[in-house]
Symmetry: C2
């Protein structure tokens, strides 16, 4: 069963008290642990992760919808994508000390899986799935008020509304690179100019875009590059 | 405002009675209508679509999680993806007669947008977003019990659990084609054989896959082909 110090920590830090501790235990059981202890017939946390993913998607969507009453759908969608993603969820998992309590197989432990971002993301989702089953969606909202919403309020994901910033963050994950934008053409009559821009990363063309002004064309080029990089 | 016959129809067919009719009206207002009537300062349904998308994701995930207690996460995810997608949502929109009541601009009307699957999908999401804001998530679940869950129960999306069926459905959207699987190699010791298979569609190789038996390798090849086709 899950460590009693973790049960205390959840109560003290977040006011969360599970009724069904088996659900909490399932959320903190990695498939590698199940595989190494087949004789125990345990359940891994993957089904809870499936459910928690959808719970978090709605929790964040609802919050963004109400917090930004004037933001168009496209920007809400980008903000949501930036919030509901590996880097953010893995950081939340660490903030809540979830990484200290997941049960891993020895092979995965030795391979450093405890600090692997996708594992920590899955764990955050599984925890939220378990919380939802145990106590209903209000409990997920209360937890998000402590761990997710303050980051949204602080603007941590606002860069997502801007493709150029997003491209910069994406390509610089692997170290410093040089990004630059070049005007390729300007065409059309004065009242309906069309600008074409490309974007290079370390001198390699990664995307092109059109727009009614240079700034809009740069944003389109950055978005094009991001879509290609993430494909 | 939204047609009174539609308000009656929602009450009679689905037992749904909106408190705030402005929300229902917003859900049925396409951006093309807003653009053609700028003087009215209307809101289009895109923000509600953003919210409804997440509401439906959780509604379906929760149902699948409970209905299939023994299904592993991968198959749940495929079932969810098959349920929460354009073809399914646009059919639900038509079943509920939503297509008859959306307000479109004249240009889009003439272009046949009223029967466009992506528009009907967005409309289904926007309606669910409005219902959620008006009455809370229980109302979405009740509506889904009438319009979504019976199709899940009838196995309409179960093919998604199987990559070969999914590939067949995907490539045959554009007419009849011939799909075949070929064993390329068998290797490894008897207790740990590895099979490699490719899949061709009209004699063109579209994917390859490995597995511990021929069947598993075929599923992997079909999945590989699907990922490439959808990229």
């Amino acid at each position: 069963m899950v460590a009693s110090e973790f049960v205390s920590e959840l109560r003290q830090r977040y006011g969360i008290e599970f009724r069904n501790l088996a659900l909490l235990d399932e959320a903190f059981t990695h498939s590698s642990y199940v595989n190494e202890h087949k004789e125990l017939g345990l359940k891994d946390n993957e089904r809870l992760e499936f459910l928690g993913d959808a719970v978090l998607e709605l929790t964040v969507s609802d919050y963004l919808y109400r917090k930004f009453p004037d933001l168009p759908e496209g920007q809400l969608t980008r903000m949501r994508a930036a919030t509901v993603q590996t880097r953010a969820f893995s950081a939340f998992s660490k903030e809540a000390h979830f990484d200290q309590y997941i049960k891993l197989g020895k092979g995965e432990e030795n391979a450093g899986a405890r600090q692997r971002k996708t594992l920590l993301e899955d764990l955050f989702e599984a925890f939220n799935g378990a919380l939802y089953l145990d106590q209903g969606r209000e409990a997920n909202i209360k937890f998000a008020e402590q761990i997710i919403f303050p980051k949204i309020d602080a603007g941590q994901f606002s860069a997502a509304m801007d493709h150029k910033t997003a491209l910069q963050e994406f390509v610089q994950q692997d170290g410093e690179v040089e990004i630059s934008y070049h005007l390729l053409s300007e065409s059309g009559p004065a009242h309906d100019r069309q600008f074409q821009v490309d974007v290079t990363v370390d001198d390699q063309v990664l995307g092109t875009g059109f727009g009614k002004n240079k700034k809009a064309a740069e944003q389109a080029a950055a978005n094009d590059a991001l879509l290609k990089l993430k494909a």
